[in-house]
Symmetry: C2
Subunit: 477 residues, 2 copies
Amino acid sequence: MRGRSKVLKFRWDVVVIGGGPAGYTAAIRARQRGFNVLLVEKDELGGTCLNRGCIPSKALIHCAKVWQTVKNAGQFGVIAPEAHFDWSEMQRWANRVVSNLRRGLQSLLKHHGVTVEKGEAKIHGVNEVIVSSDDGEKVHTAKAVILAMGSSPAQIPCEPGASVLTEEQALFLPSLPKSIVVIGGGASGVELAWLFNALGVKVTLVEMLPQILPMMDAEVAEGLGQSFEKQGIDVQTSTKVNFVSARQGKTVVHTETVKIEADLVICAIGRKANSDGLSQLGINLNLDGSVAVNEWQQTTIPTVFAVGDLVHGSGTAHEGMMEGEWAVEAIARQFSGKPLPPAPKKLFIPVCTYTEPQALSVGLTEKEAKEKGLNVEIARFPWRANGAAMASALTEGFVKVIADAETKRVIGLHILGADAVNLNGEAALIVESEMTVDQAANIVRQHPSLSEGIKEALWALAGLPLHITKRPNRGRE
Amino acid sequence: MRGRSKVLKFRWDVVVIGGGPAGYTAAIRARQRGFNVLLVEKDELGGTCLNRGCIPSKALIHCAKVWQTVKNAGQFGVIAPEAHFDWSEMQRWANRVVSNLRRGLQSLLKHHGVTVEKGEAKIHGVNEVIVSSDDGEKVHTAKAVILAMGSSPAQIPCEPGASVLTEEQALFLPSLPKSIVVIGGGASGVELAWLFNALGVKVTLVEMLPQILPMMDAEVAEGLGQSFEKQGIDVQTSTKVNFVSARQGKTVVHTETVKIEADLVICAIGRKANSDGLSQLGINLNLDGSVAVNEWQQTTIPTVFAVGDLVHGSGTAHEGMMEGEWAVEAIARQFSGKPLPPAPKKLFIPVCTYTEPQALSVGLTEKEAKEKGLNVEIARFPWRANGAAMASALTEGFVKVIADAETKRVIGLHILGADAVNLNGEAALIVESEMTVDQAANIVRQHPSLSEGIKEALWALAGLPLHITKRPNRGRE
């Protein structure tokens, strides 16, 4: 394998364990650096995100949005009197999307020259990986190893006979129950609550903390909660679940104050890193079981790196992909004998939910900014004053922009609204580039478009609102 | 009116003629500078854009997209067997959007303290505006006048009895004909062609130039044309129309080579500035009838400014709004006796079509870049490799990124795809900020989202494609 193999004492330059977004990104990037790369995956390529997470949930959410469009088509002059939906057909669509993407990933890895091996890999010693499969055991040697084994859904204590599914299993429900309790108001929890409610299931969403979406700006989270209530979801915040029991064919969620009965419970309380056995090898773990790494994703064994959910438990796919790139950068330096620079530039990670309305947070929330002691200026722009949103009757929500009062730089952009997710790149560019409010506002946006909502919020912050008369809710800060 | 009125020899600081986007933006900005402002509008507030252009067309296009969603809902598990649509209900929706926005604009102007007068305004002498209405004539004096009278659809020669509507009238058709010829493949023409084809009308689109959407990148225009053909629209480029005649209840379009018969012809060949009578006052016009202005929108009369379609005939609303801001900036300098700086920074104006797929161009097209003698690097990313596009089955089209080979700066971003319009802010930020390919690519985007398409095209240009194996169509440049 290439000329260099003659001088190598190891079979591979890099072995990557785990074929999810963080792992496959690392594998492709390592090939693009000219390394020979083995990727080991015990299950399907694509990891949680592609097989049991972001992708099938987005495909199902799309189906539910089509259903809502059909139900509400009347105001747009479209009449669909006999309309109904078929959950198993929706699942078929999601399966098709997943298998197409999986096939694509397979041929992508092949084209990039990544060798893929199916089997359960265990790191064994500093430069050795043992892969067990139906064909027996195989030992691979590598100059560097990237661990990308991901995470698994955390479980809640429950009695035998209770119908409790993980956030992953919920996507493959054979039929829709009448009622569901979703435990956990993070991104997965709110998306599942929205999905099943949109399909006519009676949904209760229970969150331990005072706010759903604790990682998002409080106003966006609160706005989504209010919208959920309007849509018929029972949202219970500050409600801790102790355990789940079974009673006469029903499942009962026991909180500290009440009991909630339902046909089915979905547990979406977070995820745990798949780090079993790593500490015995001298790889330090954090208290929550995730792998401890430095700024370059390096573990306590210098030639072993860790990326993705294995490092942060409940991270996003795009954060894992970025970490995959960093790990490869670090490995390339290591191979060429160069020391690592202090740290890569810390990038802002957009956080979204694909609910209706959608939620987006980039940069600091108002609370985070204030905790940092920053003097902030805030403005909002409601979608009901935006022509593009009005033309499609999707006027719920707002854009909220947070700037540093001294530097006038935009430090946070938070959106609740119909198509907020597709504005994530624009929001990230503004915050990441440390643009001032004026710089970001002056860019010309298409009229009418949702991008104008960001422009208008920035204008409002600059004291020059155009399509609103004042900063809405200005009294609140 | 304010303390300053005592020392003023003119009744108004600023009179704005015309209440479209360029005019009302100028009026509000002038108020925000502390000027007293009269806005004169002879018809409805909001101009062409709000009353007979962008807004009603986007509302109708939304209705047609709902209809298409209902028709194609089957693959997503939603069955609507008896679905049909009602064109007059669609128009009712568009009317509702328009009147809501108009009411909003009215109260906006009131809140900002802009005095609005209904009537036909004529500039008369350097500082005098005469307004004629049912109440007779009124003379207003002003320190500065902003002309924002907009444009009107250009007409094609046609015989009596031929059914020919302008692009504006087409939005208010009482019933749908069986067949339509749309003359003119600019933004309005392609949108009308898409709209009526989506509603089952047999549509022929005729464009004089070799490419529809001549202001857009050729590949995007060509891609949209191919998609139109697949959708059943007959696209005829390089076809010049000589005149339109009537024959036995049908209307006939006579091109240089063929005759095309249809129930109705829509003329969307461009617009003419509403500049009648201005040259007699000493205001210079360009050859096409638009008002000649300097970089600050100043006409040949130094206290008279012109903005919007009056200046560029067939401009966009957002360009007009930007010009409104510039004119006010210039007037503020003039009032305070300061000279005008050489020119405001020339900003990139996004251009979009709200068809399916949508088209977006920001910055230089490939042709423009080459005409400037730039050495360019180009990469593309097809939506069929994007998870968000796949989850919603909207995989037509691509992102095309053009960079300067020397500086590595992004100089053009062109997108054909389902939700391209909402990416306009992200595209404009990249091009306007003169970001390098690496800088723009490194920003973290949400996975899965359409923003990733831009990131992937940038990565491909940097030689680091992740979800594609090579630069697609690389052989073409």
